[in-house]
Symmetry: C2
Subunit: 121 residues, 2 copies
């Protein structure tokens, strides 16, 4: 990994929902991609902002006081410590940027929580 | 800035080539977009990796020992200290991720060098 790659081709290899794949390392951040469908759990990241950028489709980013609908080409940065929950009625393809040490479901561990090693596969 | 925004709409507002605009702040990184056309100067960033991700069109990323052709959807990370020079025969639209304090033409100051304040406008 970490040579030239194509985001769309990498998405085609992803079969599972809510299973982020690390596609690049930039300084102290990982760039990840994931297919969303259904609802993720509520969580926050105490020490990391997280950028969501929609490659294909659309999803709703639930925050405590609002719901932000993100469509193809839209992006939004959830600042550190802010509780959020992505909900995607249909399949959406999303790129994320967050600190390397960030757990993708925050401190909440659930059946779908993936370790960093699993995200590198 | 730093609310929900659309990358394509933001590109439509860019008139100048090689004039990066900061569109998001994620931890210690800026996400920037720029229109490329023609040749940038050779430069490196001593303290920052830089990710290039092609939103539209294609360009050649010249490195000292190879030329990497990047097309729509392709991305590549130039590791810190590696000399590089983007060359874009036709107009291309590119997203970049790099440390906040990074100068977009490295230590080389030329007529096209933009300060961070100029990139925030």
């Amino acid at each position: 990994m970490f040579n030239k790659e194509n985001v769309i081709e990498l998405f085609k290899n992803i079969k599972d929902y809510w299973s982020p794949k690390i596609i690049a390392e930039v300084n102290n951040e990982y760039v990840k991609i994931a297919k969303f469908k259904g609802e993720l759990i509520w969580h926050d990241h105490k020490n990391s902002d997280e950028m969501f950028y929609v490659i294909k489709g659309s999803f709703d980013l639930h925050l405590e006081k609002e719901i932000i609908n993100l469509n193809q080409g839209d992006f939004y940065v959830v600042k550190k410590g802010i509780k959020h929950r992505p909900v995607s009625k249909e399949e959406s393809w999303v790129m994320m940027i967050e600190k390397k040490e960030t757990k993708h479901t925050g401190d909440v561990v659930s059946d779908i929580t993936k370790t960093v090693d699993e995200q590198l596969k």
